[in-house]
Every structure is written in structure tokens, then in C-alpha cells.
Symmetry: C2
Subunit: 210 residues, 2 copies
DNA sequence: TTAAAAATTAAACAAATGATTAAAAAATTT
DNA sequence: AAATTTTTTAATCATTTGTTTAATTTTTAA
């Protein structure tokens, strides 16, 4: 049984090949524009195997969607709940980690955000997204900094919007910005690397301003 | 001929009804997830009339897409090329105008950005998006401020990314942020209203930092 | 080695979907 | 008022697309 060789060796199980192909195609084109035949072709397998292993396009999508969301927020949860790092350090790590991640997989943000818009329920139910922020060490540190007068804007949601906006938006608007700046992937990625250092500086300056 | 009554009166031409319905449905669901039958139903017209007036779903989409992009950047062009306003004032106006616009039509950003990702060519060819920024009064003012040492980050693309990121990203991530903050449309829109005043302050603080 | 189970394939099905047709209705022109 | 043009409708078509079926091949277990 091929299926049992999943973890070891160079050859991947059919199930894993399908999932990997589904990830690629769903991320690139979104649910609605993805054909099951696209996935089968990308995976190099017979179309019927998709339904054999995953029942339906919908079911397969839910798996990919969940894994993508979970993977994305897992790292953030770890960083935001580190007791030992300062607020500034958390900003640095979030910026650095996510810029690296999204350069590797640039389709993820717009995929996540579009699909969440289409089915907000899927997200709301399955992931403890609220407590990720509101129960975090980050949240406590932010409150302390506000109380100490080090951060002028008291709402942590503005902090999150600003941080994620500075990190994620350039990727979401990538094609537009590349056209505006007349640059290609290489130049764009260099700009993103620059932002790893700049975003923490910018965030600190913003939070002190009023 | 109904068609000639387009401009005047309360009753709208069939053509206009279809366009308006197409705008609503395309903006909400995107090209791939939109059925021509959805548009016909939204417009309250017979399905065949869509093809009678617009030949195809694709052609209708191109019209909506072009008008949406043009409408979005037209205003920005006006603001960025105002000889009489300062850089700070431009930031205020862009923030204010776009926050108002996107509160009215919250689907526009993610619609534009997703569809641009799927067909970058459509955008690149039809709209003079590069000169909108790079030939603008804003661009000259930015350069001057950099030369005068008032802005530390020399690349205007970072400035645009930051400004648009702070304005647009919260809307793109709307459902996610509402869930995080446990707020509804009302509370969310109030946060966005707050940002009209904060974004110019933040941007100024950021640009001075290094 | 043989029987059973699992995996794979080609073919086909049914529903959805974009588009067209031909006839009817409404509006405009003569 | 009659003829012509434009608009609208119901029905239908041709493809696409998600899924299933039944047969075949491969793998596993006895």
C-alpha cells in the first residue's frame, strides 16, 4: 500500500500529491476558479482519485483552507505569547517571519482574505482567532505600554491593523505596486527585505505619535 | 426606445440595470464565482438580455473592471496632482476620501486586488497607473522632502505602500479583524473613522523615523 | 501461490452554465 | 394605421465541470 509510505522515502503518497497540488492551485486561483481537473493535472493523477481520496472538491478545499489558516496563525500565536520577549521584539519577529513566509508563498494572503470574505463562518467556527490576540502576552504588554503612556493609541486593534497592514498589504497589492514602481519580483522582494528592518522602526514611531 | 432615456428620469434603462447588477455581483463574488444568472436575477431581467446588450460575461466584466479601477484611481490622481496642497494635506485627503469610499463599497478593494492578480495584463495595458504616481506633484513633493531631510526613507514606493496599507488593509481583512476584536460593522466603521485622523499623524511620525 | 483488498483508470453521467435562437411584444418610423 | 425596428421572452443548445461507475491493475494478506 503506497499510502503507508507517506512519511518516509522520496516518493510521496497519492493522497499527499493531491493535497499538495490542491494547495498550489487553490492558493493561486481561489476556490471558484479552480477545476478539479486542474488539480488532477497538477498532481499528475487520474481525476477520479481526487474523489476517491477526498470525496469532493468542497471537502478537499476545507482541508487546505484549514491547514493554510492554521499554519498562518500558528506562528503568530507562538510569537505573541512569548513571555520573554518585549513588544518591540515581537514586532520584529512577526515582521521578519511573515515577510519570509509570504515571499515564499505570495498567494497566501489574498487567498486567505478572499476566501474568508466568501465564507466567514468557516473561519469563525474552526479557529480560536479572537483569543489568539486578546488572550496573548502581546495584548497584556500592549495594555501596559498604553498605561505607561508609551503607546498613545489605546486600541490594540489599531496596532494589529497597522502591523499587518504594513507587512501584508504590499504583497496583496503586489502586481499593482510592481507596475507603479516599474520593478520585477527581484526588486520587489528586496523592498520587502528592507521592510523587515523598517517596520519595527515605523511602528515604534507611530505608536509614540498622537 | 427605453435605451435613450438612460440619463434622465427615475426609471433606468435595461442596459444600466444590468451594469449596476453586474457591478454588485462581480464586486461581491468575483468573476469566477459569478453566474450570469445571478446578474440577471439581481437586475430583474431575462437572462438573454445580458448577452443581447453585452455579448458575453467576459465583455461585461471588462467594462465593470475598467470602470471600477478608473473610478478608484481617478480620485487619487486628482489629489496627488494638486499643486496647491502640501504632502501632509494630500495624505489627509487620500485617507479621508478612501475611507469614506470603501465604507460605502467595502467589496471594492479585495475585488480589485484579486482580479488584478488573476489578470495583471488587463490593468497594465489599459490604465496609466505608473505615471499616476511617478509623474505626480506628490512624487515631486516627496522627493523634495527627502532631499530636505524631512523624510528619511527615500523610496516613494514605501510611502505608497505604507499609506495604502494603513488605509486599505483593514477593509481587506475586515471579517478577520471584526472577529478578532469581537465587533460588528458599526464598531468597525467607527474605528475606520478614527483612522482618518490618525493615519496622517502616523504617516508623519513614520517618515521622520529611521 | 492464491484470494482479498486497495488503488488506478477510462468512460460516462447529471447538473450547471454561458450563449443562442426564434417567436412575441413593444416602441418607433413612415 | 401600417410597416419597420428594437426589445423582451421562453426554450434550447453546447460545453464545462463535479462526481460516479465498472472494469483493470497493483498491493497486501492468507
Amino acid at each position: 500500500m503506497e499510502k503507508n509510505k507517506k512519511e518516509k522515502g522520496l516518493d510521496v503518497s497519492t493522497e499527499e500529491k493531491i493535497k499538495e497540488a490542491a494547495r498550489v492551485v487553490f492558493h493561486k486561483k481561489g476556490y471558484a476558479a479552480t477545476r478539479t481537473r486542474d488539480i488532477a493535472e497538477e498532481a499528475g493523477i487520474n481525476l477520479a482519485l481526487l474523489n476517491y481520496y477526498f470525496r469532493s472538491k468542497e471537502k478537499l478545499f476545507e482541508i487546505i483552507m484549514f491547514e493554510t489558516l492554521f499554519g498562518f496563525f500558528q506562528n503568530m500565536g507562538l510569537v505573541l505569547n512569548d513571555e520573554k520577549s518585549t513588544l518591540q521584539h515581537k514586532v520584529e519577529r512577526v515582521a521578519s517571519n511573515y515577510i519570509d513566509l509570504i515571499i515564499k508563498e505570495p498567494d497566501i494572503p489574498i487567498f486567505m482574505l478572499s476566501e474568508i470574505r466568501n465564507r466567514p463562518d468557516v473561519l469563525l467556527v474552526k479557529l480560536p482567532i479572537r483569543q489568539l490576540i486578546m488572550n496573548s502576552v502581546f495584548f497584556q504588554q500592549h495594555r501596559k505600554a498604553v498605561d505607561a503612556g508609551k503607546i498613545k493609541e489605546p486600541d490594540p486593534l489599531h496596532f494589529i491593523m497597522n502591523l499587518l497592514g504594513l507587512i501584508v498589504f504590499p504583497f496583496v497589492a503586489g502586481p499593482l505596486l510592481k507596475e507603479m514602481g516599474n520593478i520585477r519580483d527581484e526588486g520587489f522582494n528586496q523592498l520587502m527585505q528592507d521592510r523587515k528592518k523598517m517596520i519595527p522602526v515605523w511602528i515604534e514611531a507611530m505608536m509614540k505619535a498622537r
